[in-house]
């Protein structure tokens, strides 16, 4: 056969009209550039801009006025422009962590065109980068055996629709006949079944802790706790609609009452050890509320409960059988107390006082629990740390 003269480069360049622009028009800008001393250099090419700034959670927070009072927001730093129109900013040395950032160009918030890694949090997309070391080494993809991550749909009779789960099965699951314990891992308000595997880095944390022998191999089921949603935004028949926190059936008891359907589906579709001793439930914020409510509603279901920056009381005026007789139900749950009832919160979390109040309630009733107080507030940094600390305590 006659050979065509055709370079792989050309094939790549032509793979789509858009990629042409990226590859032909593109420069070799490295941003973010993580330097050996753990400082990070951000670069943005904009010869005609008069001001380029960066905002991100690696910068000291500033106070911001909101309709709900003063809150903290990430700070802002100025980039400086060189003679070629390239703007730069180098951060101080940063501690290990997964960070997010955006640029602000003449007042307009934009993503970093040199960094294709973005993670969505509710309706905001921000670029991310990772400074390795310490805790954050668990957030990296490492050269260890990797679990399988599946998006699988289960039928919910009570909610009248098919709904999506993210399921992690540990490395080796497909090669044995072994049964595994299960952790149900729940997101917060505005999140969905993708939140823990994306911003939460749960897949990487599990791979790394299991490979290091620090956590038991386990199945982890990440649910969608918005009972009015089938799946994450864009993954349902509603199409590419904007994400919102204004969802129907949120924290109205529907999700809690539907939860046994999920457990039954998982027990009948995966090789699980289907008993209380081998089941855990944990969640952040609204997911902490759900974990507290579900574990007390079905007191024989979970021996491990994790409440990360949790809410503990129903919204004003919401009626559901789930939220009735809470005192009696908790008494029933703690009569055969979970092996672990773990509460974690940051010292500047807006839910700090709510957590303190709930702990007082548990203390007053002599219900056993463990408590972990961290620095900072209601942020993913803390939830990743809590998950990293919680997993090694399970199923031991």
């Amino acid at each position: 056969m006659k050979k065509l003269i055709l370079s792989v480069a050309l094939m790549g360049l032509c793979s789509s009209a858009f990629s042409q622009q990226a590859l032909w028009g593109g420069s070799e800008i490295v941003s973010p550039g993580i330097n050996d001393d753990k400082t990070v250099t951000f670069r943005f090419f904009a010869p005609d801009a008069s001001k380029v700034q960066i905002t991100g959670d690696f910068l000291p927070t500033v106070n911001v006025d909101t309709p709900y009072g003063v809150t903290q927001a990430p700070g802002v730093a100025d980039l400086t422009k060189n003679e070629d129109g390239l703007w730069e900013y180098t951060s101080p040395a940063l501690s290990p962590e997964l960070y997010g950032y955006s640029f602000i160009v003449d007042g307009l918030r934009v993503n970093d065109p040199s960094n294709v890694y973005l993670i969505r949090d509710i309706s905001t997309l921000t670029n991310v980068f990772l400074i390795p070391g310490d805790y954050a080494d668990n957030y990296k993809v490492s050269d260890v055996p990797h679990g399988t991550v599946s998006k699988i749909w289960y039928p919910s009779e009570s909610l009248g629709t098919d709904r999506r789960l993210t399921v992690y099965t540990p490395a080796g699951y497909e090669n044995t006949e072994k049964k595994y314990p299960v952790l149900y891992l729940l997101h917060g308000s505005g999140g969905d079944e993708n939140a823990w595997s994306e911003l939460g880095r749960a897949t990487q944390i599990l791979d790394n802790l299991i490979a290091a022998g620090k956590a038991e191999p386990m199945i982890v089921v990440m649910t969608n706790g918005n009972a009015g949603m089938q799946a994450a935004p864009g993954e349902t028949s509603a199409g590419f609609t904007p994400p919102t926190t204004r969802l129907p059936k949120t924290m109205d008891g529907s999700f809690e009452l539907s939860f046994p359907e999920i457990v039954n589906f998982v027990d009948s579709h995966y090789r699980t050890s289907a008993d209380k001793e081998h089941r855990a439930i944990a969640g952040l914020s609204m997911g902490g509320f759900h974990s507290m409510q579900i574990s007390k509603e079905y007191p024989d279901m979970f021996d491990y409960v994790g409440l990360f920056s949790g809410v503990f009381t129903p919204r004003e005026g919401v009626k559901s059988p789930v939220y009735e007789n809470i005192d009696e139900k908790l008494a029933r749950q703690f009569a055969d107390a979970p092996k672990l009832y773990w509460i974690a919160v940051g010292d500047s979390d807006f839910l700090y006082d709510a957590n303190k109040e709930y702990r007082k309630y548990l203390d007053d009733h002599k219900y056993p629990y463990s408590y972990r107080e961290s620095k900072e507030g209601h942020i993913w940094k803390n939830w990743r740390i809590y998950l990293t600390e919680f997993l090694p305590m399970l199923f031991k």
Copy 2:
């Protein structure tokens, strides 16, 4: 228990420092707004900008000079500004399709902050939207039973590393003991194991065609054809590195020689009908090249072969046993010809002549094949259409 006064709204607002900004600072801008007459209105809030434009594949293409000659790129349209600083552009009525676009603000290319849906193609992220109807109805998530999509790692002895696959198992797979046929679906240069399920909408196309009874329920295995990569960018121990087409071991025969490892892994980990009659292989561009090479290298493996905008000849100077004795190997393959050998290409594809030449070769040797010529060129629009047409012909 005393109730806390705490609204769900507040919880959502506080779920991260970044989301605060999105929800408090956010406006109610709808962009893109898909109107009843299939025109689309794009909106961008930038009171201080002096020029806002949009570029996307829904606009007529324009000619662009490149180091490789003149090529076509998406056109550009101007938005107009109203008194509130909101810029708008309304397109003509658009045909059904998945489209991509970006804004250009005073010369700077930016994503649409009102649209969180972006898809990466090599190193470019563009916003997407979908005009339903016709073919494009298959690209929607519909209210039909959904297959499971898994990211699973297999060990490659020949490449010396674990590597990731995207595997689609059809709805019902988990509820039967049935065995399924398997399609291996391969990406192009610059793509990875995520390409077909993201830009290719393969998951939606499969769900929809299977639910409509137009395609057999099948397992679809989306490989990573870059033998020098473990997995998609960001999903390997290399970390969040920029995607590139300049990869080692690309089209050097390594991937083709490693392919039986993938087939063996799939046959031993999924309920497959493990014979030629129940195996198909198809790919786009470089994936067409791989499908052609692999199917002739292992002539007893695949009864269905799909070459979408394919390349047919190795790069100049590349040596591999895979690329030796091609005439003899094709003669061996066609001695027991595949049930379907399907070639598809667009009439303005830069590989049109290469396809014509390969078809002449097949004609000259009286090797049977089917041919589909579409409009337009080397673009995802065509590959989605080819997949939609190819699937119903399999395993019948």
